[in-house]
C-alpha cells in the first residue's frame, strides 16, 4: 500500500485579537497542536474525539480549506502546505470533502444536476458521453434516482441529501476524501445505508478516507486505523482492533467505557469511567500532558512534561507516561472477534461462550486495574 497522504507536525492556531484599527494579538485558540498522520491508498483512518478537540479543524487544514499555522501536508508526494490557491485547483480533483450537515452544504438554489456537475465545470473536464449522462451515472451509483436530476435539494430527505453530497465528492473519482461527521445528522436506519455506501465506493474506486467523527461505534465500523484526539493532540493511534481491544491511554479507556452498548445485560455489568470536570480551554492549554487535569493516574511528571507518542508494538502508538498495560482481553465488551493475540494473563474464550457467559463479567472494569501506584513499569 503506497502512502497517499502524509501530515507532519500540523498546527492550526486561530488568533484572538483586540482593538479595531490597530489589531493586536492577545492570544490564540490552539485548535491543532502538532499532529502526525499518514494514510495509505484505499485506507480509512478514523479521527475521533469530543467536540472542541480539533478533529474537524485538522481535516480542513489538511485539505487547505484552512491554512495551517505550521507543519507540512504532503499529498501524493507533493507538498501542498504552501501551494497557491491557483495551483491547488487541479489538486482538488483528487482530494474532496463530505460535510456533516446535508442541509447547509448544498446550495438551495441549484438543482441536484448542477451541484453534482460543478466539479466538472470547475476543473474544465468534459466527461465522455456528456456531463448529464456522467452525472446521472454517479447519481445512480450513490442510490439516487437519476430522473431527479432537475430537482432542488429541499425536495430530498436528510439521507438523500447526504447522498448528493457524496455524489459531488466522488464525481471526479478522487483518491482521498475527508469525511467530516458524514452520518451524525442522520437517523439510525439511514446511517447504516450511508456507511455501507461509503464502504462500497471505497472498494470500487480505491478511495482513502480520513473519517472524522465523534461516534466510536461508527468509527469502529468503517476504519482500518484510528487516531484519538484530545485538545489538539493525538493521544493514541492504532490499528482498529488493537485500539478497541487494548486501549493504552486513560482517555481512550474513558471514552470507550462511556459509549453505551445496546445490550441490557452487558450494560448492567459495565462500569463507566466517568471523567470529572470539563474539557480545558484550548486558549490556555494545561502544562504537561493535556489530559492531566482530568486523568486519575496523573502524577507530577504528567503535570510538567507532555509525553511523546511512543510505539507499543503492532503499529500502536500512545502518548502517555503511564499507559494502561492491562489488556481488555476476553473481558472486553468489544467483541470476541478482535483478532488480537491474547495477553498472557488473560484467556480469550471462544465466541459462543463469551456471548452466553454473561456472568463471568467481560465488561470493562476499572476497579480491576491498579491505578493507585501510577508507576507501572513498561
Amino acid at each position: 500500500m503506497s502512502e497517499i497522504l502524509k501530515v507532519e507536525n500540523l498546527e492550526k492556531k486561530f488568533p484572538i485579537t483586540k482593538g479595531i484599527l490597530f489589531k493586536k494579538q492577545i492570544g490564540s485558540v490552539n485548535a491543532v497542536n502538532g499532529i502526525n498522520l499518514s494514510l495509505g491508498e484505499g485506507e480509512t483512518l478514523g479521527l475521533v474525539g469530543e467536540s472542541g478537540c480539533g478533529k474537524s479543524t485538522a481535516g480542513r487544514a489538511i485539505l487547505r480549506l484552512l491554512d495551517p499555522s505550521a507543519g507540512t501536508v504532503t499529498f501524493e508526494g507533493t507538498d501542498i502546505t504552501t501551494m497557491s490557491r491557483k495551483d491547488l485547483v487541479p489538486m482538488r480533483s483528487r482530494m474532496q470533502m463530505i460535510f456533516q450537515d446535508p442541509f447547509s452544504s448544498l446550495n438551495p438554489r441549484h438543482t441536484v444536476g448542477s451541484i453534482i456537475s460543478a466539479p466538472y465545470a470547475v476543473q474544465g473536464i468534459k466527461p465522455e458521453g456528456g456531463v448529464k449522462r456522467a452525472v446521472q451515472e454517479t447519481m445512480e451509483r450513490v442510490g439516487l434516482n437519476p430522473e431527479h436530476y432537475n430537482r432542488y435539494p429541499n425536495e430530498f430527505s436528510g439521507g438523500q441529501r447526504q447522498r448528493i453530497g457524496i455524489a459531488r465528492a466522488v464525481t471526479l473519482k478522487p483518491k482521498f476524501i475527508v469525511c467530516d461527521e458524514p452520518v451524525s445528522a442522520l437517523d439510525v436506519s439511514i446511517q447504516a445505508q450511508v456507511i455501507n455506501l461509503l464502504q462500497d465506493l471505497q472498494d470500487e474506486f480505491g478511495i482513502a478516507y480520513l473519517f472524522v467523527a465523534h461516534d466510536l461505534s461508527v468509527v469502529r465500523q468503517i476504519s482500518d486505523r484510528v487516531a484519538v484526539m484530545y485538545l489538539g493532540h493525538i493521544v493514541e493511534q492504532a490499528p482498529r482492533d488493537g485500539l478497541y481491544s487494548h486501549p493504552y491511554h486513560p482517555y481512550t479507556h474513558a471514552l470507550l467505557s462511556a459509549v453505551p452498548v445496546p445490550d441490557p445485560k452487558l450494560e448492567a455489568q459495565r462500569e463507566r469511567i466517568v471523567l470529572q470536570g470539563d474539557l480545558p480551554s484550548p486558549i490556555n492549554l494545561p502544562s504537561g500532558c493535556v489530559f492531566s487535569t482530568r486523568c486519575w493516574k496523573a502524577t507530577d511528571l504528567c503535570h510538567s512534561t507532555m509525553p511523546e507518542l511512543k510505539e507499543m508494538g503492532d503499529g500502536h502508538k500512545v502518548a502517555c507516561h503511564f499507559p494502561i498495560m492491562e489488556s481488555l482481553g476476553s473481558v472486553t465488551i468489544f467483541g470476541p472477534d478482535s483478532g488480537l493475540t491474547p495477553q498472557p494473563d488473560r484467556v480469550v474464550q471462544p465466541p459462543s461462550e463469551v456471548l452466553q457467559d454473561m456472568e463471568s463479567g467481560r465488561a470493562l472494569r476499572p476497579k480491576d486495574i491498579d491505578y493507585a501506584g501510577g508507576e507501572e513499569p513498561y
Binding site: 437517523d187 436506519s189 466510536l216 465500523q221 478497541y244 453505551p260 452498548v261 445496546p262 441490557p264 466517568v274
Partner: protein, 341 residues
C-alpha cells in the same frame, strides 16, 4: 390504576398539504420510579407524544383525542390553568438542546428560582436558596458563584445540568427527557445519565426517556415503546425487546446500528426512507421497508393495517407474521450481526 396511563392518544395537525396524523392510537402505562423509553426515528411521533402529555400542543389546527391520566387527572380535558399549575410541578421536561432552552438574558439563579416562585409560596430569598441546593445536587462545581452566571458562561454539559436542576426543582413525579444527551459528548453523556439515574432513585420519579440511541435505552429503561409512522409497533420489557424482538422494524434497528461489540462486518441497513405522515402507505406502515416478507401474508401486509397483538402479557407487537416466523427472522438477523456469519 397506573400512575400515568395513556390510552388511544391521537394527535393530528392540519397543514396546507393535508392532515398529519403525527400520533395514532398510542397507549401505554408507567409507574412511579420506572423508566419508559420511547424509541423511533425522526417523524415517528415520539416527541409529539411527550409534548401532548405536557399539554404543549395548543392553538389552531391541532386535534388531540384519547385519554392521558396522570395520577387520576385527565390531562387531555384539563383546563389550561390546571395544566399550567401541573407543568413544572407534578411533571417537567428536559429538552434536547441545552443551548436553546435557557434564556440567554437572565442569570441561571433567577431562572431556577422563577420555577420555584411559580409554584410555591416562598420568598425570593428562599427560592434562591432552593436553587442553590438544586445546583449543588446536580453536581455543578462552585454553585455559589455559578448561580450568578449567564447560560453562555457554562459548557454544554453544565447547561444540561442546569436544565435538569430546573426540571427537578419542584420534585416532579413525572419527568420527560426528550433526547437529553443527544447534543452532548459521550463522556458528558455518561455523567448526565448517571445523574438522572441517581436523582430518579432519590425522588422516585417516573421518567419517559425519548431517544434514538439503543445503547442509552439498554442502560436506562425498564420498558420500551418502539414507534414508527406515528404508531406503536412494539412494546416490551427491557430484556424482551433486546433479546426477543418481534417486530421486523425493531430487529432492523437493532441490527443496523454500528456497535462496539459487533463483529464489525457490513451493516444490515433498513432500506428505503421513513414514510411521509401525510401519505402513509396502505396496510402495515412498515411493509415497504420490511425485510421479513412472507409471500403468504404479503397481500395482507400491503392492504390491512395490523393490530397490536399480544405475544405475552407485557409484550405487544403490530405485525401480520406469526410468532414463529418473526422469531426465526429476528434470531437470524441478530446472529448475523454478533457472530459475523
Amino acid at each position: 390504576m397506573s400512575f400515568l396511563t395513556v390510552n388511544d392518544l391521537q394527535v393530528a395537525f392540519s397543514t396546507e398539504d393535508g392532515v398529519v396524523h403525527a400520533v395514532d392510537g398510542v397507549s401505554f402505562t408507567l409507574e412511579r420510579g420506572k423508566t419508559l423509553a420511547i424509541v423511533g426515528e425522526s417523524g415517528s411521533g415520539k416527541s409529539v407524544t411527550s409534548q401532548a402529555i405536557m399539554g404543549l400542543h395548543t392553538g389552531r389546527g391541532v386535534k388531540i383525542s384519547g385519554e392521558i391520566h396522570l395520577d387520576g387527572i385527565n390531562l387531555v380535558t384539563a383546563s389550561s390553568e390546571q395544566m399550567r399549575s401541573m407543568r413544572g410541578n407534578q411533571m417537567a421536561m428536559i429538552f434536547q438542546d441545552p443551548f436553546a432552552s435557557l434564556h440567554p438574558f437572565y442569570r441561571i439563579g433567577r431562572q431556577l428560582s422563577e420555577a420555584v416562585l411559580a409554584h410555591r409560596k416562598v420568598s425570593k430569598k428562599e427560592a434562591k436558596a432552593e436553587a442553590l441546593r438544586m445546583l449543588t445536587k446536580v453536581g455543578i462545581p462552585n454553585p455559589e458563584q455559578r448561580i450568578e452566571d449567564y447560560p453562555h458562561q457554562l459548557s454544554g454539559g453544565m447547561r444540561q445540568r442546569v436544565m435538569i436542576a430546573m426540571a427537578l426543582i419542584n420534585g416532579p413525579e413525572l419527568l420527560i427527557a426528550d433526547e437529553p444527551t443527544t447534543a452532548l459528548d459521550v463522556t458528558v453523556q455518561a455523567q448526565i445519565l448517571e445523574l438522572l439515574a441517581e436523582l430518579q432513585a432519590e425522588f422516585n420519579t417516573a421518567i419517559i426517556l425519548i431517544t434514538h440511541d439503543l445503547g442509552i435505552v439498554a442502560d436506562m429503561a425498564d420498558e420500551i415503546v418502539v414507534m414508527y409512522g406515528g404508531r406503536i409497533v412494539e412494546r416490551a420489557g427491557l430484556h424482551d425487546l433486546f433479546y426477543q424482538p418481534q417486530m421486523p422494524y425493531t430487529v432492523g434497528l437493532l441490527s443496523s446500528v454500528p456497535r462496539l461489540d459487533s463483529a464489525g462486518n457490513r451493516l444490515l441497513s433498513i432500506g428505503g426512507q421513513p414514510p411521509s405522515l401525510i401519505h402513509l402507505p396502505q396496510g402495515c406502515v412498515f411493509h415497504p421497508r420490511c425485510a421479513a416478507r412472507n409471500p403468504e401474508v404479503e397481500l395482507q401486509c400491503a392492504t390491512v393495517r395490523p393490530e397490536l397483538r399480544k405475544v405475552s402479557d407485557d409484550h405487544l407487537v403490530r405485525c401480520h407474521l406469526d410468532e414463529a416466523e418473526r422469531e426465526a427472522f429476528a434470531t437470524k438477523r441478530l446472529a448475523e450481526v454478533l457472530d459475523g456469519e
